[in-house]
Amino acid sequence: MKRGILTFGLAIAIASAAFSASAQTLNAIKQRGALNCGANGTLAGFGLPDAQGNWAGFDVDYCRAIAAAIFDDPTKVKFVPLSAKDRFTALQSGEVDVLARNTTWTISRDTSLGLNFTGTNYYDGQGFMVRKSLKLNSALELNDAAICVQQGTTTELNLADFFRANRMKLKTVTFATSTEAVKAYDAGRCDAYTTDASALYGERLRVANSNDHVVLPEIISKEPLGLAVRHGDDQWYDIVKWTHFVLLNAEELGVAKANVDAQMKSDNPEIKRLLGTEGKYGEALGLPNDFVVRIVKHVGNYGEIFERNLGQPTPLKIARGLNALWSKGGLQYAPPVR
């Protein structure tokens, strides 16, 4: 206790000490030979290891893309499964270099938690899953319902806001992990389970009889999900941020896994700049100039990552919706490589 107060006092005292950002994260990763990536671990479509420990998912592929950019080898990633509760600590404490765990971007997380969000790789919103037998049409009918929710998420706060705004009575049952929350919902402990809509599709597969459950139409919040890094290393922040942007640009320009070699010979100046045949944009990030080629060759562009993990070929069958490119009616818009 005393130590805590002392620490806190000194923390304020030294608050004025100068600090300069350096390339330490990238160097540490190169030295280590692997990227430490904080991932979900229990969410199908975003981050889930199979029985052999092979990770797959949308966020997982983002980490693989970063590893491909640094090492030209997407397997040089160590995934650390994190619960919603532990994730920020893991990033703050340096246990992971990047947090790719469907994390909502909010002002308090971006500032007082000491994180930097690198963009929105998935536009999401919070929804509810209920039993079909309840015959509900809207989340507004959930007055007095017991709702299972995962601890330490924006979901927990939005839920409280939604019920308060609509003057409904709320009974939350909070669990430390989503697994426990879904399990409890499935066992009948709650009437509804709430989390980000994207995750709901994945969680629906985890209940015993997924056909007995429906996802309600309401989306009660904005949940821009993104990757986050620690405050204090701008170069690393840029690398993660631009990994996301080049994935979008690659899709926009039609550069895909299958045609990337052919596209290298393209005359389109935008593609030339993107793939590093013109300009030295990679170097400015501390990466080789062809880092986008490495990324796309190993993991594909944004659209390919989306389809592979969340789209029609998967059991989740999530439509692009808001996550379509801006040119196709969605919100995904990346600054140009120039």
């Binding site: 130590r3 805590g4 620490t7 923390a11 000491g114 017991a146 601890q151 806001d161 019920f163």
Partner: protein, 394 residues
């Protein structure tokens, strides 16, 4: 050296002088600890600064914004983090307090059963202690939670218990007594009864010292403290109403709601701790030598009196210190609530609040301070009690 007189200390080189050496050791130790603390604090300051993590206790007064499933005091999503802390603390104390009572009852029964002459009973009790003590508490809690959850019926076919109570996998719903008009006479009678019982006690003691006659103190106390308020309650026309739970669209409304998480935690903690208390009780009773019982019999005391006046007072002296330790263990173990989702101090404060504010140092420090305070206060009470029973010894 050889001239050293009787009053003159022999000259020892400082290297071999125990006082010098101990001083040097202590200074070294202090230096090491100061260095460790300093570097830790320095690192923490730098790390916090680098990551620009907020610090300070301002968060205490900020709006928490999350809901808590069990609140003993008024709490809503617009309450502050500080309020959430008190909710968590009270929930911890509630489960610990009830757990202590139940564990003590089960523990004493099992402990005495282990000493039973009946082989089946003593072996059954022995088996209970052996199995429960050798399984991790967390495993037992998970088992109880899932067993409690799964074994109970769904809301739609809740078990209806006599007296208007419901039991389902959402919890136990009991009628809530509400004091009606004229109820105030009952507590008044209770106070009068209590005072009367005390007076009776003093009178009976004096009379026994004078004449040797015993008065039925227990019966009189019972009648005065329980009977008097009960009579008043009945005579004033049962001035109490019950808020009965009733099925709503989703949940059962009204009444007292007991969460399954709470039941699982209470069950698990009580059963686990009871096994340890049983061992404490057994050891305590065995510690009273058989000669004491025989001596009491030869003085003409009846078995009940022997137990009450000879065995138990002596056994208690052995039992109470380890028993208190078990109570403390139970309180500390209640922090495992975090694994099954019961909103105790650790789950709410070191869980949600820590996560929401990101202020690990402050939150963990407060949480630890709470448990430490509970431990220290209990230790102080324990020492006081020990000193008191030590005086009785002759």
């Amino acid at each position: 050296m050889s001239r050293a007189g009787a009053d003159e200390k022999p000259a020892i080189s400082p290297l071999h002088d125990p006082r010098w050496r101990s001083a040097v050791y202590q200074v070294l130790l202090c230096a090491v600890i100061v260095f460790l603390v300093y570097s830790a604090v320095d690192n923490a300051a730098q790390n916090l600064q680098r990551a620009r993590i907020a610090s300070g206790f301002d968060f205490w007064h900020r709006t928490a914004g999350f809901d808590i499933s069990q609140t003993l005091i008024d709490y809503s999503t617009v309450s502050t983090y500080g309020r959430a802390f008190w909710v968590g603390l009270l929930n911890t104390l509630l489960v610990a307090g009830l757990g202590i009572i139940i564990a003590t009852i089960i523990g004493f029964i099992v402990g005495i059963a282990r000493l039973s002459k009946n082989a089946l009973v003593s072996r059954l009790a022995g088996g209970y202690v052996e199995v429960i003590r050798n399984l991790p508490l967390l495993l037992q809690l998970l088992f109880w939670y899932n067993a409690v959850l799964k074994a109970l019926p769904e809301l739609s076919d809740s078990l209806v218990l006599p007296g208007g109570a419901f039991l389902n996998n959402r919890g136990l719903f009991l009628p809530q007594p509400v004091a009606g008009a004229g109820f105030s006479v009952v507590p008044l009678m209770f106070v009068i009864g209590l005072a009367g019982a005390l007076l009776f006690r003093v009178w009976a003691k004096r009379r026994q010292e004078r004449t040797g006659l015993q008065a039925p103190i227990l019966l009189a106390t019972f009648l005065l403290v329980i009977g008097l308020p009960l009579a008043a309650f009945l005579l004033s026309g049962v001035p109490i109403e019950f808020g009965y739970p009733e099925k709503g669209r989703f949940n059962i409304r009204g009444g007292i709601e007991i969460l399954p998480e709470f039941m699982a935690l209470l069950f698990g903690l009580s059963i686990y701790t009871a096994a340890f208390i049983a061992e404490v009780v057994r050891a305590g009773i065995l510690a009273v030598s058989h000669g004491q019982t025989e001596a009491a019999y030869s003085l003409g005391l009846r078995p009940g009196q022997t137990l009450r006046r000879v065995v138990i007072p002596q056994a208690m002296r052995v039992i109470v210190p380890p028993l208190t330790n078990q109570y403390l263990n139970l309180t500390k173990n209640s922090s495992l609530a975090v694994a099954i989702g019961y909103p105790d101090l650790v789950q709410i404060f070191a869980g949600t609040v820590l996560n929401q504010t990101g202020q690990a140092v402050e939150v963990i420090a407060i949480t630890m301070a709470v448990y430490l305070t509970i431990s220290l206060v209990t230790s102080l009470l324990m020492n006081w009690y020990n000193a008191r029973i030590a005086l009785v010894e002759r």
